[in-house]
Symmetry: C2
Subunit: 432 residues, 2 copies
Amino acid sequence: MTLHTRPLHQLDAWQAAEALARRDIQSLDLVRACLDRIGERDAEIHAFVELNADAALALARTLDAGPVRGLLHGLPFGVKDLLDTADLPTAYGSPIYAGQQPLADAAAVALCREAGAVLLGKTVSTELANMHPSVTRNPHNLQHTPGGSSSGSAAAVADGMLPLALGTQTAGSLIRPAAFCGIVGYKPSHNRVSRAGVKSLSETLDTIGGFGRSVRDVALLGAVLTGDTRLADPRNFDASASSAPRIGLCATPDWSLADEDTQQAWAQAEKALAGFAQPVTLPAELQGLVARQKAVQTFETARSLRHEHRHHAQRLSAPLLALLEDGMRISGETHAQNLQAVAQQRHVANELFRDLDVLLAPSAIGEAPAGLTTTGDPLFCRGWTLLGLPCIHLPFARGRTGLPVGLQLVGRFADDHRLLAAAHWVHERLTR
Amino acid sequence: MTLHTRPLHQLDAWQAAEALARRDIQSLDLVRACLDRIGERDAEIHAFVELNADAALALARTLDAGPVRGLLHGLPFGVKDLLDTADLPTAYGSPIYAGQQPLADAAAVALCREAGAVLLGKTVSTELANMHPSVTRNPHNLQHTPGGSSSGSAAAVADGMLPLALGTQTAGSLIRPAAFCGIVGYKPSHNRVSRAGVKSLSETLDTIGGFGRSVRDVALLGAVLTGDTRLADPRNFDASASSAPRIGLCATPDWSLADEDTQQAWAQAEKALAGFAQPVTLPAELQGLVARQKAVQTFETARSLRHEHRHHAQRLSAPLLALLEDGMRISGETHAQNLQAVAQQRHVANELFRDLDVLLAPSAIGEAPAGLTTTGDPLFCRGWTLLGLPCIHLPFARGRTGLPVGLQLVGRFADDHRLLAAAHWVHERLTR
């Protein structure tokens, strides 16, 4: 397949990056193609809160005329409006922060720019990255949610408005919207990507990651964000150089809540991976992860947003206000016990990977729910987020109403390079 | 001793808090006494970057006329200028951020205010909480450093300008200035206190804590910051209710670098604690902590300050610039290995506390160094910070030039209540 059989704005990020580095295509043309697509579609999708068109075009011209700066040279990208940007307002999805202009870029934004990426705009976050839905719609069906809280980033990448975008996950805010929008979403290991300049909700859980249309796209992004070049090693994506990963099938204790669409995708994956995968049951020490994740998130969010709760309660949604009130009712003694238990459970979780490279697990209950009154349930993401393990969503199926369905792979802590290599191998098998 | 044998500004925070709650003293008088002391002394000490006098006096009047709001009702406090404040500029000790006005309080500030504390001002931080010294002087001898990076908070509490102040530690920025200024410094367990609204340097290490003049002072502060009422349980401070802690004497692998003053303090403590303490040698898995802490801090700081490094290099000090350049030379692969090793070492460290409540360890090499060209060496703090363990500095001796000397106690992760109870017991024995 040559590049020009597809419009520029539909290229995978890694394909565009290679073509840009070879000067086969120009950043200016790619930025224009994305801006055109945004112009056509965003009045319906509502993925963006701020656009940076003039600055992006000017930077693209500069990049086209100069040396290749890094792995993301000339690639347009979007940033969830939970991350600070020095040249665009940052409102965290909340009227409390409308028009706020930070003095510095978040570290993740600065690293992408240093690698040559072109900031096209800020994407919609739900209110303070919590569960209250935003205005963004699912590009596959405007009557459905795109998921959240990284709603705009996922919808923009899925719709061809951007090849790459940054998001964050505290419960399931990267993997769930990736699943609902049918793209690849990558949550790195906890604490591998600096959160400097990102509105803090739950320090035990908050993790920066991103979206692309292929595993190789998010691998590029991951290499830039972590500084670990192994993540984007071309051998990871070369069938002749990579060996089959050892895969555990972990349906999780909540499997009975997966709907028919997720069950069908699971059956399809079991078939495609036969011979490489074996069932894995979580040990007794890893029971109760979902309830503990909820308690940790609720306690920590209530404290992180203490100022907003005390001074701007009337500008918080009722669901967020209820969560903050719940959080203030959890005792610090209970939280200390939860933190000790999490440390122990993270230790136990790493033992799972003694004889395995990755776990396959559900990403979501099923397709994106209809309506915009919910962003869906992060149930199947909560446990992995609590354990701090790297996760990647792989889209490969369709549900009963034609919306995307897929599954996630989970890796060992700080073994993101191995997860991404396995994810490419698995995704090839699931989609061929 | 009755309260009024000491001037108001010299009362311990817990004594003042009890007197305020009983309405034996007025917050207005205490705030005035602190402001007077600041007026007398701060032209020499340089502990403050911003004062909030009018607002503090007004709030004190309101508090005196209303119900008791919480554990810190009516108590003046100071905040290291690394933490955001909604009503005072926040510059992180750097000209890059001169005059920056945040929209919200940091979570730690909001929690103190909610508990009734009165913000008196922002205290001096070294440049972006790193090693380049600030203007603050040691109140015990103006020719010596107060330590850093929480220089102003430590000096202000030591000099009677404030009963309580917030600081942060990434290497030794709470324990070292507490040691040099002869006060109690408390670094909670990593990740127990929300860092929302605090300039981020190293997420593996950055920890919010504070200073007081007694263990009971920082226990009050800790209870407010963690929401864990066990930290301030009066039984912790009642000799008839508390039993002797099981103490390990851990001189650390760097003991040969401790100077004569620290060695004398150590010998004094061994004698005072005889019968309750036994020597502890760190297991082989816990070797190399200092080098790993430096590598983690350097790598993470370089990424957290990527924007400042790229856009404001000319406004960074030469030492900080050199650290950022060092950090960008550490590979992401090395950092991933360090993060895996830290997770394993934190697990091993907790095993140390199976038969012990606390470890006694050096806080600093010796007295505060002469001159203002260094804030001293955080050597003896780096390992405990890397392990995420709670630490408290106990002042009890004097060195050869008459400056304060002491030692720190280290507790099990998230067992801060046990550490504080033990610290009170030990401090009583060391100072009687």
